[in-house]
């Protein structure tokens, strides 16, 4: 029994790894598709920096970090939707679902790669922002900054996983990925404090793990930054709790969605 369980875990890890490698190969075979997912965050950041042009260094750093976060979000939202959509277009959806490995492990590999790609986008946007607008690079607490960034990366992956489960069921992935992009930028306070948002939107913001992540990133990067009243550690604890809930929900959703999609027999429709 122990051997069976450990074999199963190894197979799952192999499925995640293989899926990541395949997603990476697909990306390098046709890298132009990265543009749709980064162009909006990139332009939004540049516009923001032009609007912020009369303010001082820390505020510019706030905007540049927000731009990086938008880059990660954009790739997560688009990457999660597109991975399933491309399966439909390429006619590989049925084959992927009938593979012995549960779909969630295959999708997890894709989501992890997409989020990694998002981090590269974030660095690219940060770099352009820093170079063009000559924002001084000084990370206040580099270690805390790195921890917050890595945990936010995990949190974004968990959001990507939930989104992907919805995309399996619906043919409207295009609708969701286009419709969600700007609202998540608004709701997570990438470019402005969420205190400016109406009360009912703030409730939604606090349910998104990356909202806490970006606050923790800013606390650790900008000296004297006053974000949420919670502080660095509580921000990370709340984000980790929410991330755990997202992962748990993803497992439930994937099990239900996978079986429902097979019963409906409409997997390949788009």
């Amino acid at each position: 029994m122990i051997s069976y369980g450990s074999d199963r875990n190894i197979h799952r890890i192999q499925a995640v790894k293989a899926s990541m490698i395949l997603t990476m190969k697909n990306f390098f075979a046709d890298p132009q598709w990265i543009i749709p997912s980064i162009i909006a965050p990139f332009i939004f950041t540049l516009v923001s920096l032009f609007l912020f042009r009369n303010v001082n260094g820390p505020v510019l750093m706030y905007a540049v970090l927000g731009g990086g976060m938008m880059g990660m979000w954009g790739t997560t939202v688009y990457g999660s939707g597109s991975s399933i959509m491309f399966d439909r277009w390429n006619g590989t959806m049925e084959a992927t679902l009938s593979a012995p490995s549960p779909l969630i492990w295959i999708v997890m590999g894709r989501v992890i790669f997409n989020t990694l790609e998002g981090m590269v986008n974030a660095i690219f946007i940060l770099f352009i922002g820093l170079m063009w607008f000559r924002v001084g690079v000084s990370i206040y607490e580099p270690l805390q900054f790195s921890i917050a960034t890595i945990l936010t990366f995990v949190s974004l992956s968990s959001v990507g996983l939930i989104l992907s489960s919805v995309y399996v069921l619906t043919r409207k992935a295009g609708f969701l990925e286009n419709g969600l992009e700007i609202p998540v930028y608004i709701a997570t306070g990438t470019m402005f404090p969420i205190a400016l948002l109406p009360f009912y939107v703030q409730g939604f913001s606090f349910m998104l793990g990356p909202t806490w992540g970006i606050d923790a990133i800013r606390i650790s990067a900008i000296q004297g930054y006053s974000g949420f009243s919670t502080g660095y550690i509580p921000d990370l604890v709340i984000m980790c709790l929410e991330t755990a809930i997202y992962f748990f929900l993803s497992f439930i959703l994937f099990t239900k969605v996978e079986s429902r999609a097979k019963i409906n027999g409409t997997l390949g429709e788009y």
């Binding site: 132009q32 598709w33 543009i35 749709p36 162009i39 909006a40 332009i43 939004f44 540049l46 516009v47 923001s48 032009f50 609007l51 912020f52 042009r53 303010v55 409207k172 295009g174 609708f175 286009n178 419709g179 700007i182 609202p183 930028y185 608004i186 470019m191 402005f192 404090p193 400016l196 948002l197």
Partner: protein
Amino acid sequence: MASAEGSVLMDGLRVLRSSIIFGRRGSIIWDSWEMWILQIFILPLTQMAFFAFLAGSINHSASDVQYVVIGNAIQTMSFSAVFSVANITSQDKWQGTLTGLIVSPANRMALLVGRASFQIVMSTLISAIGLVYAHFLFGVSFSGADFTGVILILVITSVTMMGFGLLISSIGLYLRTAMIMANVFLFISLLVCGVNFPVYYLPSWLRVLSYVIPMTYGVSAMRLAISGSSIPELSGIIFTEIFVGIIVILAAYILMKTFEYLAKKTGRLEQY
């Protein structure tokens, strides 16, 4: 000779008419109702909200927020006038109908303008809804507005930006897809067309791009019309926008013929 020219004109008009009909039907069939709602109601609202909150967060005055809101209300027409129009050739590639169209003797300009014409209606509608949001949700006052001017500018900007969409669409004949370019130009007007801040904020090399995109003039004219300028007062900027629009449409035609030739020569028509 006159009869032959008349026949060419009649053929062109016939192609234009049938393209308008097929373009409208195709758009309605291809896009789901959710995409319509997204394009017409949700995307303009979220984009306007993002930049309005952003402008507000930098302690800008209400007038600065209104500047941003009006700019974005007009810019959102790009979802239809630029993105949808630019993807016309790519959609034909995906559906396998591009080769059939290219071998037909139909006038190319009539064909493409006809296909894109439905998006003029759509983009006008999207920006009109954006202006409604501007008034009811973001507090933009229309009390002194010249409504004839507002409608005129909406229509002219939609037509000229459709021409800009055609320019990008023509690239799709040669490249594997125009979607990437469509995505770039969907958002680039946010940066270079005076939508969120005046064009003079930009470095001079980037301003060149501002002046060749009709949106720059449309956004500026709309702000003036809303603040009460009459049509005669707006005539200068409107004529400039029309002039730039005509140049853009002519450039689209020349590019289309060039890329059609290149695509035929290199056998890339069906590549996507």
